[in-house]
């Protein structure tokens, strides 16, 4: 059991600040996913918690104890690395037992813990093999096992599934979720994959350029993104976001189309965000956005239409039912259902 408290955490590399003050509390047993594009600082943040990177300012507390100056082994954490980082010359058993052996745990207890972890991860037949004789998925499980046997306060996982193929990734994702539910341990998980982020997390930290853009549950992040960046990053296909001019409760779209919407602010320029699935096809006499389709991708259950707002060069993506007859070159008129629009300040990108 462990709670983790990050207080205004900062990191400088050669005078350049790369983590700009992150504050958050991770409750005991919570599964928190740090998600963001590459280079956003998510791995750095995790490695700071692990003790592999120094802290330039701010504090990290694990179980109400400041751990800034503690070595990784003194922080009572375990880490799973992207490339697994298994010791190539040790068997699976030795790999898992190594940390315990260093901690001078009695042999009997080591054996018992390794056996338990191996059973949980279905690694029993492979205990005496070297990592080189294992498949990617098995190596990944050994890396998990090595973390498990230590029974740490918190698990730190750095893109643990990114080296696996798509099918295995789904399988391991479920296994990690199960593992979290059985052990109830605090987990901090870094990924750039939004499906992993959305499905695993109790709470998400969406990071961009060293800043936590939003810290919230996956539902909140999706339904009420805190900034234009979050809105564009989470969701696939990405949200349509474009600049509109508000004039007396009416949004003037690119191409000069006028669309009355509920919930618009006073007259000003704003960024309007509409998810592809939040676009209903409406009749020609209803106010809406005229879209000229450039291509349609049919996926079975549904289809994605890619087009332009008529009379402008603004691209727009629509999610259409699988039964659609829409085709390239067709003109559609779409409008968001009430309350399904997102507005962001055109200067700061913050949600309005």
């Amino acid at each position: 059991m462990a709670n983790i408290f990050l207080n205004d955490l900062r990191k400088n590399y050669a005078g350049q600040e790369v983590i700009h003050g992150i504050t958050m509390t991770i409750a005991d047993g919570e599964f928190v996913v740090i998600v963001g594009p590459s280079g956003c600082g998510k791995s750095t943040l995790l490695r700071m918690v692990a003790g592999l990177e120094g802290i330039s300012a701010g504090t990290i507390e694990i179980n109400d104890k400041v751990v800034n100056d503690l070595e990784p082994r003194q922080r009572d954490i375990a880490m799973v690395f992207q490339n697994y980082a298994l010791y190539p010359h040790m068997s699976v058993r030795e790999n898992m037992a190594y940390g315990l052996k260093i901690a001078k745990m009695p042999k009997a207890e080591i054996d018992q813990r390794v056996a338990k972890a191996a059973a949980m991860l279905e690694l029993e037949p492979y205990l005496d093999r070297k990592p080189r004789a294992l498949s990617g998925g098995q190596r990944q499980r050994v890396a998990m096992g090595r973390a498990l046997v230590r029974e740490p306060s918190a698990f730190l996982l750095d893109e643990p599934l990114s080296n696996l193929d798509a099918k295995l990734r789904v399988q391991m994702r479920l296994q990690i979720k199960d593992l979290h539910q059985t052990t109830g341990q605090t987990m901090l998980y870094v990924t750039h994959d939004q499906v992993e982020a959305m499905t695993l997390a109790d709470r998400l930290i969406v990071m961009n350029k060293g800043v936590a853009e939003q810290i919230a549950t996956p539902h909140e992040v999706y339904m009420t993104p805190a900034s234009e960046f979050v809105a564009g990053f989470i969701g696939s296909p990405a949200m349509n976001i474009f600049t509109v001019q508000v004039e007396a409760g009416v949004a003037v779209l690119p191409g000069g189309h006028r669309l009355p919407l509920a919930g618009l602010p006073a007259d000003r320029e704003v960024r309007l965000g509409l998810r592809p699935e939040d676009m209903e096809i409406v009749g020609d006499d209803t106010p809406g956005i005229p879209v000229v389709l450039r291509s349609v991708e049919w996926l079975g259950a549904d289809a994605f239409g890619y087009g332009m707002i008529e009379g402008s060069d603004v691209a727009i993506t629509l999610r259409l039912p699988g039964s659609t007859a829409a085709a390239r070159g067709q003109r559609l008129r779409v409008a968001p259902p009430e309350g399904r629009l997102h507005l962001f300040a055109s200067d700061t990108g913050k949600r309005l």
Partner: protein, 289 residues
């Protein structure tokens, strides 16, 4: 069609024959002098001095070798063959192991620790590549004299064990160890010493074996430095003793014993190569980064 199908095969057979001819010729050219040394070591001095030397082993072999080990060499060089072999083994081992210890330690420091002037240290080591023993022989000799290390094993070994080459080899190898492996070890609680002992050392064994072979032979065949730093016959290496044995007038040289000593000087390096080669292969097959 038949011709088309058979002629490439015939051509390949011919090419193979040609290749084998050249390879066998090469082996003969390289091996013949060594074989001749062995043949000569089995004949009496009289036979050796009366050309042509026979191409087949003579009947004096047992006598020559027994004599060499039981006093004949002592009579000429003032030191027993056993002592010579012992000295040379000790020095070659000392140099090989010393080089491995020192170069591994320095490469470990340079690659895995961040300390001030790290790169300066690296370049300093690198520069010594340009300064082999022969170039710095006078100051080194002076230091050995001042330290009173003339005619000691320490004096024979120490100046030869600092090795930029081995340091660079280990550095290159250590740099291929993924950072994550080091970090995993840190999370597992391994300090610098445990990381070295439990992870780096087992992964380096292949390299250690290779460097050991090279440096053992380097140490075994040292000539100039042992010649300078030893005065007493007791401290001679086998190569030096060999040189001393033939510095008489040709007719006085006990050629049969010289040949016996030569064979014995060649054997240990061959043995090391043959034994360690199995190790290499094992290491190459079993470890992976």
């Amino acid at each position: 069609m038949d011709n088309g199908a058979t002629s490439p095969l015939a051509a390949r057979g011919a090419a193979r024959l040609t290749a084998h001819f050249w390879m066998i010729l090469g082996v003969i050219i390289v091996a013949f002098p060594v074989y001749y040394v062995f043949i000569a070591s089995t004949h009496s001095v009289q036979t050796i001095l009366r050309p042509p030397l026979p191409l087949l082993p003579g009947s004096e072999g047992y006598e020559n070798y027994r004599g060499a080990f039981s006093g004949e060499i002592d009579r000429i060089g003032g030191v027993s063959l056993w002592r010579l072999l012992g000295n040379t083994t000790l020095i070659a081992m000392g140099i090989a192991l010393g080089k491995i210890a020192i170069s591994m330690a320095s490469a470990y420091a340079i690659v895995f620790f961040k300390f001030p002037l790290r790169m300066a240290c690296f370049w300093l080591i690198f520069i010594t590549l340009m300064l082999p023993v022969e170039v710095r022989i006078q100051p080194t000799y002076k230091v050995m004299v001042d330290l009173g290390l003339i005619d000691t094993y320490a004096g024979l070994i120490l100046p030869l064990i600092a090795s930029a080459t081995a340091t660079l080899l280990f550095r290159q190898f250590f740099m291929t160890i993924p950072d994550e492996l080091l970090e995993a070890a840190r999370v597992d609680g391994a300090g610098p010493w445990r990381f070295f002992k439990d992870i780096l050392w087992p992964l380096s064994l292949t390299n250690v074996a290779a460097i050991f072979v090279i440096q053992f032979i380097y140490g075994w065949t040292q000539y100039l430095w042992p010649l300078l730093v030893t005065n007493s016959n007791e401290m001679n290496t086998i190569v030096i003793a060999l040189k001393k044995m033939i510095s008489f007038a040709d007719a006085d040289t006990p050629w049969n014993l010289v040949m016996v000593t030569s064979v014995l000087a060649i054997l240990p390096p061959i043995l090391v190569v043959v034994l360690m080669q199995r190790w290499f292969v094992k290491g190459l097959v079993e470890t992976e980064k």
